[in-house]
Symmetry: D2
Subunit: 337 residues, 4 copies
């Protein structure tokens, strides 16, 4: 298969390159970026792609089997239009096709390609697998919503949840992208921990609520993101109210049953908790279910924001679209120490 990575020099782009380079079915890997060549060469010192990244303009003459768009929202939608028109199957990692039009407009502004929304399939692989297989356009989920939905949907879809769900999430810095901002300098981030977007201000909140409410009604989400002084990883601590009292053992069984044939989702046994290094560089999600004495359920979940939260899930979706095993090229990609 020939695949293109469009937006190759950001963190998500680089992770796509890493994973696609190891992928046994990818025979041609083509890279495009807005960045200048010289700059790019330096980025790819390690990756061995010096000089191989082409300017975005050259994309127009090129027809891969799959194109991954790792561009800013708004811009991504425009490239998707052109590629879809040419019959290229597109996996878009921006927010452009994740939300209903009116929600998108409210949170992101005017939509760049509203006519594509109806063909876009939300790429949460474990939940929309069948639709993904035949999709022409994948809206690859955001990193926070991926962690959130994987942790919450097993109970939500059985109508076991009620009221307010508190989603307290913590992320490494690569989730914020690679553009030069003072607040993301090493001197500002190291030895510091901080919340942001407190009070319902983060743009991943409508994505969480939108897909949660496809599976259950009447649930509300409170989402607080935090910045951790590390490069990769999301850890979510999610507080849930049950409609009926279930024992911890019963709850774990629901998760185990739900994900029993999902190779990337691991439900931890009693006494173990997820940690971000355990998913570093992988497409895995680790989930632990706990109950506190008063009956509230606490689900903790760890993913790699660049893995299952972005590039990993995108490759998993490509596998599904191509009729491959969904784990193809995605096993053994992690580093733990």
């Amino acid at each position: 298969m020939k695949v293109a990575v469009v937006g190759a020099t950001g963190y998500t782009g680089a992770e796509l390159i890493r994973l696609l380079s190891m992928h046994p079915e990818v025979t041609g890997l083509f890279l495009f970026s807005r960045g200048e060549e010289v700059e790019v060469e330096k980025h790819f010192l390690g990756l061995g792609f010096a000089g191989k990244v082409k300017p975005l303009e050259e994309l127009s003459g090129f027809n891969p089997d799959f194109a991954f768009l790792a561009l800013p929202h708004g811009e991504s939608g425009r490239y998707a239009q052109e590629l879809i028109r040419r019959g290229v199957r597109v996996i878009d990692l921006s927010a452009d096709f994740r939300l209903p039009l009116e929600v998108y407009d409210k949170w992101y502004g005017p939509h760049p390609a509203p006519e594509l929304l109806e063909i876009a399939v939300y790429g949460l692989s474990e939940y929309f697998c069948e639709k993904i297989k035949t999709a022409r356009l994948i809206a690859n989920p955001g990193c926070y919503p991926t962690a959130f939905l994987l942790a919450v949907l097993p109970l939500a879809e059985k109508d076991l949840l009620q009221g307010v769900i508190i989603s307290d999430m913590k992320s490494g810095v690569t989730g914020a992208g690679r553009s030069a901002k003072r607040e993301m300098l090493f001197g500002e981030v190291a030895e510091n921990f901080r919340p942001y977007g407190v009070g319902g201000k983060h743009r991943h909140l409508p994505e969480m609520e939108n897909f949660l409410n496809m599976f259950a009604r009447g649930l509300r989400v409170i989402f607080t993101p935090h910045l951790v002084p590390m490069k990769r990883g999301i850890l979510g601590t999610i507080y849930l109210n049950l409609t009926t009292d279930f024992s911890l053992e019963e709850l774990r069984k629901i998760y185990l049953a739900k994900y029993q044939d999902k190779p990337f989702i691991k439900i931890l046994p009693d006494g173990q908790l997820p940690e971000t290094r355990a998913v570093y560089g992988t497409n895995n999600a680790l989930i632990a279910v706990n109950k506190e004495p008063g009956g509230m359920v606490i689900v903790t979940v760890a993913i790699d924001n660049l893995g299952k939260g972005a590039a990993g899930q995108a490759v998993q979706n490509m596998n599904l679209m191509a009729g491959l095993d969904e784990t193809c090229g995605l096993k053994n990609t992690g580093i733990y120490f």
Copy 2:
């Protein structure tokens, strides 16, 4: 004043030394430790205390005005007994005198000095100021409970809270002490974020609940601690349900009124959020009050776990006990970059 630091070579001990070295009213600073001298010399390369730390046994012949105990729980209580008997005023930074006897026994085991519990004053300076002034024995609060109580009590004491309080807290590693454990190695902690004690297992939970319920009834706390790959700092994200709907502005006014004459507590204006570096090395607590669209209140709070969460508050308490201004020696002790 002559002061002793007992347990001088741990992180809390070292922070006590740092603060007491700068304190204008401390004329004699005496250090005791279980550690061997050679080891100690290396620890104090920077502090200039090489060779000045004496073995714990020499404490018995020494009568300072104040003794700070930075020892493990259980051990601390025994030294407190002896010192109190000799008329030394004691500020104990262990858990030994923070809890009612039956709660202590349940969470920590047999109490080393139960007869002292009735004279011990809980050293949350902003709330027990008057009792602290005349106390012979201070139970200096735990780091997590300090952050929690400062953030929650202004609303709790006015009976504005109901139901379950979720306290999702994140701490740097010095909170875990300085003994050699594999799980605290740099190679295990760096590039990692993890929860621990999920489901009501952390020993600071009964301390939070005990003192919260002195100010309000019927509240329950869910407390999830997390380990952040940084040295210092606690950031708490606390989710609260109001009994009556108050506007955000009214809520902030309650906090501002409560802490208006408390020099170390800063209520942030709209749009600003606490971050741990902003309290690095200080005795300050930064608190922001926010409301999410559905009405839940989210209070975020930052303290330095070694500062207001341990040594800083201990020195503040010494100031109160000695009749000094409570800020004496505690201004301008932070480093932000």
Copy 3:
């Protein structure tokens, strides 16, 4: 091929597991460790090897094609004896077989298996390739010596060097192993940079000098290691005096020629310098050659201490011993961001 990793729960062991899990020719991977099972399960949360690590005692009944020994020096030699006796080909990652007997005795103490020294082959893959292919016992090089020798031998073997070579090297913490030592706690290492073993005290110095002097005479090495607050990576800055003046271009040509058919060694073009993240998780070495205005040559080199500096090179050596392409299973193993 069936392979065993003996000493599976340290950092080097875990990296061996990671690489061998991805290796296409490894059909059976067997793990042994001194650690207790429970402990091990936690270590392998991410690796998926919970419960699969067997106690060292069970090694005696097991005959793999290759055994990797990732044990402390002294202990490693004893296991090598037994395995060699049973016909297992051994790749020893300890220091036990790297040095002549009298040098070993001086720096490490009595040798555990001196009779094996004559069959041991030094596993610096790029220089002892032919001997490695048929070896029964590989002495896998130390991390610092690997970086040093790769950087220096191209000039040394042509007798272009004279006098003193200054090797100023900096390493991440995993080089110090995974046992619990206070000085390696996150709280001691983060936000700190320090030299150690200054003045010829590090045990990798005799290894550097021993192999350097196989290729050139009369050279002396000054080696200063430093600890960097990061997990992986070695960066060496090496200062060399030439016997004859060569232009920078001529010097680069010597390196390029020497390593032209060595897939893991990359000589950087003018204007680029190695950095450790560019080799993170890989078996690569990046080398840059520079000259300062006065004529001294400065070679900078980066490797991953767990990769080319330990487990990566060990797998490369296994490939050579097994008649495989030396890159088998070692391409695309890195993470750069």
Copy 4:
């Protein structure tokens, strides 16, 4: 004394504010910056200076006793001109007045105020103390040259050195300033170690050579800077050739004698080595002298790049200029854990 910090929102500016806020003789502290107010408020969340930073234009109507210039080179010189004209004593932390005109022009470009060069005094406090006392304009030394000169001059000024001095130095990121550059993002710096400016390209090299050669003739410096993933601290490893053989003990005596009445310079005893955390936040320099078996001397030195390497030394110089004890306000400013 009234003092102004011009360029208050960079790392050096913030450290000046921290130190001057604690200084007992500073009665008025006035801050000026090119940054916008809003931005500034956020920077000073911790420092308590929100809203107090004025635009640079307002500097013209203001006559403090001392002005610290923490501005980029070129710009700094222009402000110095105006302030000196108005009788303000200036401590310039840029490179503008450190070098002879022709050297400056070569390395930095056209000089902004060449007529001031003759009145500028190089502010290496321990070596130019008498001149500093009466100076109207101080050229505060660069961070790397400060560490280098303190480590080397005791032997250089006694003509004990010959040939080439190798200065291999490592710095935390705040030395690179606070402007937003991609290469200084947390995602690029963390878990990475890299050299830069290899081969005599760093602008601190001429500063090192210029002042070294005031004390000794015929010495050449090779200087390689490296970037460490930490916020503060410089560690220098310096390799020296002696003209005569001295014992290690004799060498240490020379250092001890030289710095015996210099309160900020500490010569470490045998067996101890400097580390950057031991000078974190202080104006101290730690120096260890070692000899390797072949006779070469290795001096290791640690300073805080923002302390003795910038703001700390600047305040020390102000103390000297004001006739105060040079330690005034500079004791006990460090944090070690």
